[in-house]
C-alpha cells in the first residue's frame, strides 16, 4: 500500500504521533491524556456546530437567489410587455446566471449535508473510544508497573488518536468546502447587486461592464429560448398551445415564473 493509502496513512499517523508525544510519567500521563481527549472532543462538537451554521448560511443564500429568480422573471416580462427586448434579455441573462448558481449551490449543500452526517457518526465513534480509554486507563494503572504501563498506554491511546486525527481531517474538508461555496455565492451575489436589480428600467442600454460579465457567464442559447417562449406567452393568441395555460397564469398572478418548471 505504497500509493494513496500509504500517503493517507502517513498523514494520519503523523498526527497521531503528535498526539501521543507527551507521554512521560505513565500515571500522570494517563489522566492527562484522557483529559486532553475530552477537551478535543469538545472541539470536535464545536466544529460540527460550525459546519451546521455554515450550511444554514448557504441555505439562506439559496433562498435569496430563489427570490432573485422570481424578480428577474417578472422584470423580463415587464420589459417585454413594454417592447424593450434588450432589457428583457439583460434580465434573462441574469436569471440564467442565478439559476446555474442555484443548481450548483443546491448540489453542494446536499454534499455538505452528507459530510455533516458522517462527521456526527465519527464523533460518536470518538466518544466510544474515549470512554473505552477511560476504563482501560484504570485497568492499566492497577495492573502494570510503570514501564509496562508505558507500552499499554501508547497502544490504547493510538486508537483514540487515530480517530481524533480522522475526525479532524473530515472537519477540515467540510470547512474548506463551505468556505469555497460561500466565496462563490458571494461573488455571484455581488455581481447581481452591482447590476442594480432593484430598478432594471434604469439600466440603460444593458451594455455596461457588469452586463458584459453576465453575458459571458450566461448560456446565450438558454436565454434565447426563454426569451422566445416569453414572447410567445405574452403574444397571447400567437402563443403555442402548450404555453397558453401558463400565459393565463401570469396575467392573473404577479408574474410568477411560469417558464421555470421547464428550466429547473
Amino acid at each position: 500500500m505504497a500509493g494513496l493509502a500509504g500517503r493517507m496513512s502517513t498523514v494520519v499517523k503523523a498526527k497521531v504521533s503528535k498526539l501521543l508525544d507527551r507521554a512521560e510519567d505513565p500515571g500522570e500521563t494517563l489522566d492527562y491524556s484522557y483529559q486532553k481527549q475530552v477537551e478535543q472532543l469538545q472541539n470536535v462538537k464545536k466544529g460540527i456546530a460550525d459546519v451546521v451554521t455554515a450550511k444554514k448560511r448557504l441555505q439562506m443564500q439559496e433562498s435569496s437567489l430563489q427570490q432573485s429568480l422570481v424578480k428577474l422573471d417578472t422584470q423580463a416580462r415587464q420589459a417585454l410587455s413594454q417592447n424593450n427586448e434588450e432589457l428583457a434579455r439583460a434580465a434573462l441573462e441574469r436569471k440564467n446566471v442565478a439559476q446555474t448558481e442555484l443548481q450548483s449551490l443546491d448540489t453542494q449543500v446536499n454534499e455538505l449535508e452528507a459530510q455533516q452526517q458522517k462527521l456526527t457518526d465519527s464523533e460518536k465513534q470518538l466518544r466510544a473510544k474515549i470512554e473505552a480509554f477511560r476504563t482501560k486507563k484504570e485497568v492499566i494503572k492497577a495492573q502494570y508497573s510503570a514501564a509496562e504501563a508505558q507500552v499499554r498506554i501508547s497502544e490504547a491511546a493510538t486508537g483514540v488518536g487515530e480517530q481524533m486525527a480522522d475526525v479532524g481531517l473530515a472537519m477540515q474538508r467540510a470547512v474548506d468546502k463551505t468556505e469555497n461555496m460561500r466565496a462563490r455565492a458571494d461573488a455571484v451575489q455581488e455581481l447581481e447587486a452591482a447590476g442594480t436589480f432593484d430598478d432594471i428600467t434604469q439600466l440603460g442600454s444593458g451594455e455596461d461592464d457588469i452586463d458584459k460579465q453576465l453575458k459571458q457567464l450566461s448560456s446565450q442559447s438558454a436565454v434565447d429560448d426563454e426569451l422566445a417562449k416569453m414572447k410567445g406567452e405574452l403574444g397571447g393568441g400567437a402563443a403555442p398551445a402548450a404555453a397558453s395555460g401558463e400565459a393565463a397564469q401570469i396575467s392573473s398572478g404577479e408574474g410568477a415564473p411560469a417558464g421555470e418548471s421547464g428550466q429547473q
Binding site: M1, M8, G159, Q172
Partner: protein
Amino acid sequence: MIVRISGEGQFDLADSESARLNELEAAVVAAVEARDEATFKQALGALLDHVRSAGSAVAEDTLEGSDVILPPSDTSLQEAESEFTGEGLIPD
C-alpha cells in the same frame, strides 16, 4: 488486518485480502496519475466497496490502530492529488 476508511470507520479484513486490496488500490493510483476523474471515482468506489463487503465493521470502542488508512468515499481527484495535507484539528 484493520483497514480504516477515513470518515467512515474501521473494518477487520483477513490478511489474505491484502493482495486484492493492493490490486484495487493500484487502479485508483493509476486513475489519479492519468487525471481521469470518472475512472478515479469508479476505482475508489470499487476499493472501498471491497473493504466494506470483505471486512466486518470493528466495534466502535476498540482502541486498536489501523494497518491501512484509505481516503474518504467522496474524495475528489483534486484532493487525491494534493495528498490530504490539510491541517485538521491537530496541527502538524
